[in-house]
Amino acid sequence: MIAFWLLAPVMVAAALGVLFARKAVHAALLLAVVMIGLAVLYLVQEAPFLFAVQIIVYTGAILMLFLFVMMLVGVDASDSVVETIKGQRLFAIIVGLLFGSVLVLGVAQVSVGAVVGLEAANADGNIQGLADLLFSRYAIAFEGTAALLITAAMGTMVLAHSERLKPRLSQQEMAAQRMRDYADSGKHPGPLPAPGVFARHNAVDTPALLPDGSTAELSISRVLAARGTVRSAPHLADDIEELTQHMHDDGSSNIPGRPDATPKGPLEGDPSDRRDDGEVQP
């Protein structure tokens, strides 16, 4: 009973978390807490086989399937808070509270007689007892579940399989398409410009500079632009200015953060020359 009183509040809290979590991933992890708690309660109630099945099938297989599908659908897919039916959420909560209170009160007041316990039924072991029932009295239902599982597996394969609607383009066709685009809209047929090659910094988040000083939008990934993590050219210029200023102040060309970057001996040139070569670490 101690296990019950320890687990029950945690399980109810986790179930409420499933209800209120904005993100589906959080809901799935909280549901895992509820399921593991249930597994322990099965063990408390003399059902060791169901304890193992609960952990393996529910927490191990079904929830992991949920998480995989979440990866396919998008982890960030959070729930919308817009009500499509006016007042539906409020009514659902009221009905839920009424239903829950009636159910809890009803269950709490019913007396089902003395608890017999499973010592006699589990005398030969829980798994043996379950197998006795499963392969004698419930044999037809067991066969039914076999048919159900095979049908479900077939149905899933049919549903998840996607036909290729268009034939795969060959390299020649793609080249011809590029030339057609160039003729129609003037789209550059060659590869996209690399990031930052003319901007003294070749990280992917720095856009390349065009000859007139503006940035080449095509040179950075659209994802970075959407996230707003693109480093602007003026910002970078300030960094470079600061570094070169530092170099001139102490007379050496030692760039902070790169202690051994300067070649020694006759190879070392005028520091003013070094402003224009190579990359500069941020």
Partner: protein, 99 residues
């Protein structure tokens, strides 16, 4: 070890799952709430199995788990198919039959 607390916990979990099915819009969370309801009934079945002193309740709970596994597999495949065509996992967007 009396049976009432287990049954009350089962009823509470079932109610939370039912409210979740009514209020949530994400098809995946909806499915999780259905799983919560199935698990709550399993707890009641296991409890009644102990009260009555035979294993029929546990066998039924086992069958419920098998059916739940099949249901989740097919349901998630449907969600993936809908997502592939409509780019959304919200149950409100799959309303094509309404018009």
């Amino acid at each position: 070890m009396s049976e009432t607390p287990f049954l009350v916990l089962s009823a509470i979990l079932f109610t939370i799952g039912a409210v979740g099915v009514l209020t949530r819009r994400n098809a995946l969370v909806l499915f999780m709430c259905v799983e919560l309801m199935l698990n709550a009934t399993n707890l009641a079945l296991v409890t009644f199995s102990r009260v009555h002193g035979n294993l029929h309740g546990q066998v039924t709970a086992f069958f419920v788990m098998v059916v739940a596994a099949a249901e989740v597999v097919v349901g998630l495949a449907i969600i993936v198919t809908i997502f592939r065509t409509r780019r959304s996992a919200s149950v409100d967007d799959a309303s094509l039959l309404k018009y």
